[in-house]
């Protein structure tokens, strides 16, 4: 992360592409993505359709609320159209193009600095109900495999992870994400204030981080 920190200036929030490239370094699977700074960049994109375009700026915390997310872009023509539309709305900003992932059970994985115990990892089922049900659990870093398994069996909605009404989730893929997030957190425990991987799609054979943000101290 040192290379990001160098160019941060007064910025406290990492851009989505920055967080995702960091996740990749720690073998945490994410969507495919490409940063576009101008229209020419659109030609270079080799990601498979359908695609997603998002505003990529620390200025916007809730991207959907400002119309900064466009899902299901099916062709290059449409991509150019959406790009032009975004340019009008968010002049001077960068955009990120991502692969549109097949949905799964939505989970949230996060890191937060606790004044007593230091950096802690959070896991819970995600989506819009996360903050209502508060069905999340924490562990202090570092965690081991048993901690990861305990976290999964501690949330109230644990049945969803165990195959409820035909919903299938790869427990191993989730455990790997939790362990790798722990490794990432340990390496940057003095820099990270908070991190959200939300949502993470938990699917039958794998899991993928769809959106990611990080705030540094």
């Amino acid at each position: 992360m040192k290379h990001f920190l160098k160019n941060m200036g007064n910025r406290k929030i990492l851009k989505e592409n920055e967080v995702k490239s960091l996740l990749k370094e720690y073998n945490i699977p994410t969507t495919g993505y490409a940063l576009v700074k101008n229209e020419k960049d659109l030609k270079k994109i080799s990601l498979p359709y359908p695609l997603v375009m998002k505003i990529c700026s620390p200025k916007y915390t809730h991207k959907t609320d400002v119309g900064g997310v466009k899902l299901g872009i099916k062709s290059e023509d449409e991509l150019v159209k959406v790009y032009k539309d975004f340019q009008k709305k968010f002049a001077g900003e960068n955009f990120i193009i991502e692969t549109m992932e097949k949905p799964g059970v939505e989970a949230i994985v996060g890191l937060v600095h606790d004044p007593t115990f230091g950096l802690s990892i959070m896991f819970g089922l995600g989506g819009i109900f996360t903050e209502i049900f508060k069905d999340v659990v924490f562990r202090v870093l570092p965690i081991d495999r048993k901690d990861a398994e305990d976290m999964m069996s501690e949330i109230k909605s644990r049945k969803i992870l165990g195959g409820f009404r035909g919903i299938k989730v790869s427990r191993d893929a989730l455990i790997n994400i939790l362990l790798n997030v722990s490794n990432l957190g340990v390496d940057f425990q003095n820099s990270i204030k908070e991190m959200d991987l939300n949502p993470v799609f938990l699917r039958e054979k794998d899991a993928v981080v769809v959106d990611a943000r990080m705030i540094i101290k």
């Binding site: 949230i108 890191l111 937060v112 007593t116 115990f117 996360t130 999340v136 924490f138 202090v140 705030i215």
Partner: protein
């Protein structure tokens, strides 16, 4: 020293020498805590002639019980207090002093601590208040510097002190001595620890140490966990915590601890009104993180003093369960069903008994009664039926622990039932084949209370209601899991 004996090959390297130094320093610190709570000689600095003053009460408390060590009251204005020769200062005491109980006003503490350092006193309880708790940070820092200079370990300041019932030592200013036992209570609140002592007295629960932590200026929760883990008279560490002093050190000490730790953590609803900018940040009240920490370190979290003792008493005086399958024995349907309900609410199973056990039970039950689990011994049960049923269920391969209950029905003979439990616990304690927990649940007012004294006198956990009994069993199941005993069989 140990490393030298093992012939560590890397001794030459400086780094290893430093490691050894740190290890031996930690060992020294541990040793010094051993002496801290088992001193052979004590100076009460600030001993007073005036009854009711803390300096008087502290000295008196040290004298009341059967503590065998030497006492040195220190007060420059008195020749004798409570029949004890008084000294003007610690220097005037010829003998070695293991522990100083400091009860002088806060501003005098640095000077007194200097004198203690020069006298080579290594352990000090600073009872005096008036430090960090009222914003006197400088004074506290000054004290810590002096302590570091002379290698003095400090309990407090602003603490009630400690009690060591095993050695009959009351090193505190508040009156009251618990029975001897194997639960050590560590409390950040002095007043609560007094409440705890009287609660334990009433319940006839024996304690090993009661330690008031005060401001945790030097000795913190992690230090105490490390000390109590090595203390031979402690089996269970029961803690009341408002805030852990050094989070990472606490987690690591608790994880390493081989003995069970039970914690009340106060301050659950601390307003988390800070500005947060992520979902994770918004979710992370400090209590949620404490919850995670406790689970990570296999600490059992409880909600109040009653529960603290219910759980600690079971852990101290009954073996861990090797699984979560519970057998229930009762003399009436209701209590048995309530226990079964509480088990299922707490992820404990109440399985079918095996055929062999059913056959054994049929022999002792009236002809029309079908043995099940819960086993209903029916209203006219006596000593024999209770004894045989408890033994049969205890020996059942499908069962990891037994809850024996007695309700005060018209025909009931509670004293015969306690007799059966006494006999079964004796068997359990002496025969490894019967090494499964037995929890008693005796329901029904004062007469029943009196009967349960028989059990309490033998350190057998007995509870006055069903959820409390099940909670105790659940703790023994958790302890079995912590120790990796589940599904291992006897």
């Amino acid at each position: 020293m140990l490393l030298l004996k093992k012939g560590n090959p890397c001794l030459k390297a400086n780094r290893d020498l430093i490691t050894i130094f740190i290890q031996s320093y930690s060992a020294y610190k541990l040793m010094s805590l051993e002496r801290f709570f088992n001193p052979k000689s004590i100076a009460v600095i600030g001993a007073s002639r005036t009854p009711g003053k803390i300096g008087y009460e502290t000295l008196k408390n040290t004298l009341v019980y059967d503590y065998k060590g030497k006492m040195y009251p220190v007060n420059p204005n008195a020749d004798e207090i409570l029949g004890q020769k008084c000294y003007p200062n610690v220097k005037a005491v010829r003998d070695k002093i293991d522990l100083a109980l400091i009860v002088v006003p806060a501003e005098m503490v640095p000077g007194i601590l200097e004198e203690c350092g020069k006298k080579k006193i290594k352990n000090a309880v600073i009872v005096s208040s008036g430090f960090i708790e009222i914003g006197e940070k400088k004074l506290a820092e000054n004290i810590l510097l002096i302590a570091k200079k002379y290698g003095i370990r400090i309990l407090g300041p602003n603490t009630m002190g400690f009690k060591n019932p095993v050695d009959g030592l009351d090193a505190s200013f508040v009156f009251g001595m618990p029975y001897k036992g194997s639960i050590s209570v560590v409390s950040q609140s002095g007043a609560l620890s007094i409440g705890v002592i009287y609660h334990a007295l009433l319940e006839k629960i024996g304690l090993s140490k009661v330690i008031g932590m005060g401001n945790k200026l030097d000795i913190d929760d992690a230090d105490i966990i490390e000390y109590l883990e090595k203390d031979p008279s402690t089996k269970v560490i029961a803690m009341y915590i408002q805030a852990a002093q050094n989070g990472k050190k606490f987690v690591s000490a608790a994880k390493k601890c081989s003995k069970p730790i039970v914690v009340i953590k106060a301050g659950k609803t601390k307003a988390g009104a800070k500005a947060v900018s992520s979902h994770t940040g918004a979710m992370a009240g400090s209590d949620k993180i404490y919850d995670g920490v406790f689970k990570q370190a296999d600490i059992i979290r409880v909600n109040d003093v009653t529960e603290l003792f219910d759980v600690s008493n079971a852990l101290a005086n009954q073996p861990p369960a090797r699984g979560n399958r519970v057998g229930i024995i009762s003399n009436g349907g209701g209590a048995g069903i309530l226990l079964a309900d509480a088990c299922s609410d707490n992820d404990l199973e109440v399985p079918y008994l095996n055929n062999y056990t059913v056959k054994k039970l049929k022999k002792i039950l009236p002809p029309l009664v079908t043995p099940g689990n819960p086993v209903d011994l029916v209203a006219d049960a006596g000593f024999h039926r209770y004894e045989m049923a408890t033994k049969a269920v205890l020996e059942d391969k499908n069962i990891d622990g037994v809850i024996v209950t007695c309700v005060h029905g018209g025909y009931a003979r509670p004293r015969e039932y306690t007799g059966a439990v006494l006999k079964m616990v004796e068997l359990q304690r002496n025969d490894p084949k019967h090494d499964k927990p037995i929890i008693s649940c005796w329901i029904g007012g004062r007469e029943i209370e009196e009967v349960t004294e028989d059990l309490k006198n033998e350190y057998i956990p007995v509870y006055q209601d069903t959820t409390r009994a099940v909670n105790a069993m659940k703790a023994l199941v958790k302890e079995g899991s912590r120790l990796g005993l589940h599904n291992k069989g006897i």
